[in-house]
């Protein structure tokens, strides 16, 4: 098996050099997700056709992250703004980027309806189990027993339910033509492949695409590097299984061979 010689990872071409180094906290997963996304956009050569919509919260910091048209919307409303854009100009490739609150709480009605309509948009959601920018309150994806600023004694499932499984819900309500996946920043090449397939799903006109990315927030988790990684790799994956949940039959073959999950690190 030939081993590819890889150069040092370069910054994606569609990144905005002027705003680097970026403003995300050290150890934040956003930088990694946006790198994978940038690489996917570079591969597909769609920089000029993309409109990138971001939400409130930490995703807000991506408003000048890319060298692409960007719209920063209100909390939970990146989705409907992108839906509106796409309906008015289907030539555009629209991406709605948000956190767990923007997608599963305040934006959930938009998620559900865009999915049900099979809107030809790509939604990308960073799941770090808390509302980070506002100081670490509970999110729909906060896990049982997890302490946050509004669950100081740990999330009680009897009171506040279980962490929301967004991709599972989207997979259940969408029909043919939708692409749904959950990746993680710890398996960046795989995440990139999911994002690329999601965008291809939109470009081909097949339909709605949704990728949740498990992400890190050492600032609000109050974890060091080792603890952060353990939280992401072990704890979170107990509740949020990684993989593709729905792939339209016409979609290209997986870009990573099945089972190639170990030894992925980039």
């Amino acid at each position: 098996m030939a081993v590819e010689m890889e150069l040092q990872p370069k910054m994606p071409k569609c990144w905005n050099l002027a705003t680097k180094p970026h403003k995300f906290c050290p150890g934040c997963g956003h930088g990694l997700i946006l790198k994978a996304l940038g690489q996917a956009i570079d591969d597909l050569g769609i920089q000029d056709r993309v409109v990138f919509g971001c939400d409130i919260g930490c995703s807000l910091l991506s408003w000048d992250f890319f060298n692409m048209d960007t719209v920063q919307a209100h909390h939970g409303r990146a989705t409907p703004v992108m839906v509106g854009l796409k309906r008015a100009n289907p030539e555009l490739i629209v991406i709605a980027y948000m956190g767990d609150g923007g997608g599963y709480a305040i934006g959930s009605q938009h998620l559900v309806n865009a999915a049900n309509r099979n809107d030809k948009i790509t939604m990308i959601l960073a799941n770090n189990t808390n509302y980070a920018m506002t100081g670490g309150q509970m999110a729909p994806t906060t896990m049982p027993g997890q302490k946050t600023e509004t669950t100081p004694y740990g999330r009680d499932v009897k009171e506040d339910g279980y962490p929301m499984l967004g991709p599972e819900m989207v997979a259940a309500i969408t029909h043919e033509g939708a692409y749904v996946a959950r990746g993680t920043v710890s398996k960046l090449r795989t995440l990139k492949s999911y994002l690329k397939k999601a965008l291809e799903n939109q470009i081909s006109g097949r339909g709605f695409s949704f990728v949740e990315a498990l992400s890190t927030c050492p600032t609000n988790w109050r974890t060091n590097a080792e603890q952060t990684w353990a939280f992401l790799e072990q704890t979170m994956q107990e509740f949020f299984p990684v993989g593709e949940l729905k792939v339209p039959p016409e979609a290209a073959a997986p870009t990573a061979p099945p089972g190639a999950v170990e030894g992925e690190g980039e």
Binding site: H74, A105, I106, Y131, T134, Q137, P140, E149, T150
Partner: protein, 375 residues
């Protein structure tokens, strides 16, 4: 629904004592001291700490909390809490305040005594998370109604404490949605205040009662409650509006609060509310202390606005100076309430949307006006 097991005894202890804390913390303790039983809320800066302190105290004092999926829900769930007969409240800011207007319209229409704490931030839209006085119009007249609401504008942490307690009583006594209008500076700053058990100051908390789920069997001494906010024809709405507006006007004199200083002999009356009032007061007192003819008028209730008291205060003034961290939201209220009185008084302004106003700025403006140089 089972009773909330509000534990006996005042969470701030009996009597009263002086403390240093932040505004958000003061709001939380006031709500606890007032016997608020349940808070509904959604994260938005700069009021988040109200929720943080509340959730930490929930098990200690037998209260309840729900973090909702957004502010629409926070407003509607608060309505639900009030309908159940609980002292229920919520808190929000900025875009959250905008969203909350939908449930607040329902509360207005149905005379549901919700209590809402607003910590104003920059506007419009997301703007800043920091501070402004740009939610005056929204809080007083938001939604698709006539602004049948009560709005207290606080200017210190003592105010935040006092008026959060009072808001519950005002709301439940008069049955209009009641607001404590603070801002991001008050929310985050730390200064001294006296916290107290309302009983220690002779304040009796107005009892609450459920709108639905009352005890008893329907048909045997109890009638089902049919609560609605929709009418078939104009005439029905007319009746409801007449009833509510006349009641609002009737109780207005009981609710109005204001403060004024040195307006009798003043050539210039400075008008400001909230935290800006503190800068205005410092400036005016310093100038008055030098013998200058300057006074101030502070509306404490922005809604209902102290109209007669304003007109009296400026009756002999030559000029007004309105200072606010907005682009004319207080100014509009002032002009509207001068009608029928001295409404042709020249009004100079310091309008700084989203930006604080220091005492020095007010002093400079007043001095320039006194010297005839205009503002």
């Amino acid at each position: 629904m089972s009773e909330t097991s509000v534990k006996p005894g005042c969470p701030v202890g009996a009597g009263e004592r002086k403390v240093f804390m932040t505004g958000n913390e003061a709001v939380c303790w006031a709500a606890l001291a007032a016997g608020a039983e349940i808070m509904y809320g959604y994260p938005i800066t700069p009021q988040n700490e109200i929720m943080h302190y509340w959730t930490r105290n929930v098990p200690k004092f037998g209260r309840r909390f729900l973090q909702t999926e957004d502010e629409l829900s926070a407003g509607f769930t608060t309505i639900g809490g009030v309908l159940a007969g609980r002292r229920a409240f919520t808190a929000t800011a900025g875009p959250g305040n905008v969203l909350m207007q939908e449930p607040l319209s329902m509360a207005e229409a149905m005379r549901i005594p919700v209590v809402v704490v607003i910590q104003q931030r920059g506007g419009p839209s997301t703007a800043t998370v920091i501070y402004s006085q740009q939610e005056v119009t929204l809080t007083c007249f938001g939604g698709n109604g006539e602004g049948l609401r009560i709005v207290y504008s606080t200017s210190s942490l003592q105010d935040l404490y006092d008026y959060t307690i009072k808001a519950f009583n005002t709301a439940w006594k008069y049955r209009f949605p009641t607001f404590v209008l603070g801002d991001g500076y008050q929310a985050k700053m730390r200064e001294s205040l006296n916290i107290y058990d309302p009983a220690a100051r002779g304040i009796d908390m107005v009892p609450t009662e459920p709108f639905v789920g009352k005890p008893g069997k329907i048909g045997e001494g109890r009638e089902a409650a049919h609560l609605r906010n929709a009418y078939s024809v104009e005439e029905e709405l007319e009746v409801a509006m007449a009833r509510d507006t006349s009641e609002y006007e009737r109780v207005t004199p009981e609710i109005i609060e204001y403060d004024s200083y040195n307006t009798e002999g003043a050539d210039i009356v400075v008008i400001a509310h909230g935290i800006v009032f503190r800068s205005a007061a410092m400036a005016v007192r310093e100038l008055a202390g030098q013998g200058k003819k300057v006074g101030y008028f502070r509306p404490i209730t922005l809604r209902p606005f102290p109209r007669e008291q304003l007109q009296q205060a400026v009756a002999r003034a030559k000029m007004l100076l309105v200072a606010e961290s907005a682009y004319g939201q207080l100014l509009k209220l002032v002009k509207e309430n001068l009608y029928g009185g001295p409404c042709n008084l020249p009004i100079k302004t310091i309008l700084r949307p989203g930006v604080g106003i220091t005492p020095e700025e007010v002093t400079e403006a007043c001095s320039a006006l006194l010297d005839g140089k205009g503002a």
